[in-house]
Amino acid sequence: MTPDETIRAGGGNFPATRWSVVAAARSDDSAERARALDVLFAAYWKPVYKYVRLKFSKSPEEAQDLTQGFFAELLERDLLSGFEPKKSRLRTYIRLCADSFVLNEIKHAGRQKRGGDAVHVALDFSAAEGELRAQAIDPASIPSEERFEQFFEKEWIRSLFLAAVRKFREFCAAGGKVSAFNLFEAYDLADDDPPSYAQLAETHQLSVGHVTNQLAWARREFRRLAKEELRALCSTDDEFARESRSLFGGKA
């Protein structure tokens, strides 16, 4: 099923696709494995980078090196094969793997410089660094392990939503729904307090009812796409149901 087919087939209560990054990463098909790793990196590299930067107080250069190294090791040592969905969530497993990797690197500092035969993944670290500066997070304000977990989870959700927003934008562009995306962007994606529906209606020269309907449609479609993203990052339906409920079914 292509991504477009997936989008068109959606609209139900659970994503139509059951494609899972964990299963695909273990596939014998190298193209399938590569696709899985692309999805995995897209969802996790920023959370991992920011987490390493803050938790281990690493410089941007060190954190970049460690993030690259971590994903390279994830590939080389096939760390995903050790993931057991019944025991934990994938995001928890990846965070713990990152912890273990960084601690090991610190312990054996200088043992092996990144590069050389390591797999290089092209990641936009300057953007991640800019985001960290924009967030103005003081590592001292994250004193406990539990808070670092929450930080990682928050960054992971941000990454998940960002991927869904990109897909939603493509979906709207392909379906002639650019105006709906513009309203969604102006209201739901506003950095600060969003404008009122009446202000939106005036700005976009629409009726308030039209704005309400467009936003309702946009949120419904965005929710579907976000759940598809989430589903791809879960290994089983059960894990997906638990993640979905824990992330979206309750108070933050």
């Binding site: 800019g130 985001e131 939503f161 960002l162 927003v165 739901d188 994606l189 638990r242 079914g249």
Partner: protein
């Protein structure tokens, strides 16, 4: 779009949490309120073409405990057919596994907001009596509310007084209710075990505190679930009475009438044995206070009794006094 701010992420998460009613007969209209474990939405019943309120569990519930509690709340409400309790129409489960129940949509105000524009003390006390009537009815059906507070009382558009949020309600054993009207009214299928109908979880075991500080009885606050009975609700009603009597025009608690304060104090006595035994007894004292009669919670001195007598029969006393004065003036005038 390369970055989402914290506010945008929060907004998207809230949008994600919006219930998906696509597999039901309801369509979402708007968010109404959030309670302890659930959010309430206004929805449209497409079959009957009317607005309904839907309460949906919105906390993470990995072991199903909260889902069972919400279902239990719906079952309890379905059993309590009373004008002071919002009727339940339906229950169900959303495609994402969250449970919900559908109830009548009531437009109105929360008690605290309503009281702030209701200056007359007698009116407020009569409103309180209707809350007592509802709670007394629930007790007669063997059900304790356990979370009575201003936020859980609503005054509807037609003046109806509704006791809401039965999420912490407890079903008593049939031993205390088998001779009650409930049993003879076809309601007598209450399970035998104490707290039957509740999930067998820490949520109901001793040591777990459930309720709202300020309105929760000491036995509830200390987590002694097995000691919670009708008198725990009476404690909350005592605090609610105090709130009702002092909010609004007469905001100064120090100016509350001594007899009324005594009723509040007796209802909210720290020791359950010192409280009213039944809600009806509490209500009776409030009615007596309203009628200017002596209340059981307060022993008057001679001055208070005289003052009360004067207030109760003020018109008659003034008429008689006027008659006597005129009669006296007439006699004096005649002699001259």
């Amino acid at each position: 779009m390369d970055f989402l701010s914290d506010k945008a992420v929060t907004r998207l998460r809230e949008a994600e949490a919006l219930p998906d009613f696509s597999a039901t007969r309801y369509t979402l209209r708007e968010f109404l309120a959030r309670g302890g474990m659930g959010a309430v939405y206004l929805a449209q019943d497409q079959h009957l073409n009317r607005g309904v309120a839907i309460k949906i569990l919105d906390l993470a519930d990995p072991d199903g405990t909260l889902a069972e509690r919400l279902n239990k709340e719906a079952r309890i409400l379905a059993r309590l057919e009373h004008p002071g309790i919002v009727p339940v129409h339906d229950t169900g489960t959303l495609p994402d596994g969250r449970v919900f129940y559908v109830m009548k949509f009531v437009e109105g105000s929360r008690l605290d907001r309503f009281l702030s524009v209701m200056p007359s003390l007698p009116e407020r006390l009569r409103l309180f009596l209707r809350i007592c009537d509802t709670v007394s009815f629930a007790h007669s059906r063997g059900i304790l509310h356990r979370d009575l507070k201003p936020a859980n009382v609503m005054v509807g558009a037609f003046g109806e007084v509704l006791v809401m949020d039965w999420g912490l309600a407890k079903i008593l054993s049939t031993s205390s209710t088998e001779n009650s009207p409930a049993a003879t009214a076809g309601f007598g299928s209450l399970p035998n075990a104490v707290e039957s109908g509740e999930p067998k979880t820490a949520a109901t075991r001793d040591g777990t505190v459930m309720g709202t500080p300020g309105f929760m009885s000491p036995e509830q606050a200390s987590g002694k679930s097995s000691e919670v009975d009708e008198r725990s609700d009476i404690f909350s009603l005592g605090r609610l009475l105090e709130f009702t009597a002092t909010l609004g025009a007469n905001r100064n608690p120090g100016r509350t009438h001594r007899a009324l304060q005594a009723i509040c104090d007796k209802a909210a006595a720290p020791e359950p044995a010192l409280r009213y035994g039944k809600v009806a007894d509490l209500a009776e004292d409030v009615v007596r206070f309203l009628d200017g009669a002596p209340v059981s919670a307060h022993h008057e001195n001679l001055l208070e009794r005289t003052a009360r007598f004067y207030h109760r029969y003020q018109a008659a006393i003034l008429l008689i006094a006027m008659y006597l004065l005129m009669r006296t003036l007439f006699v004096i005038y005649s002699r001259h």
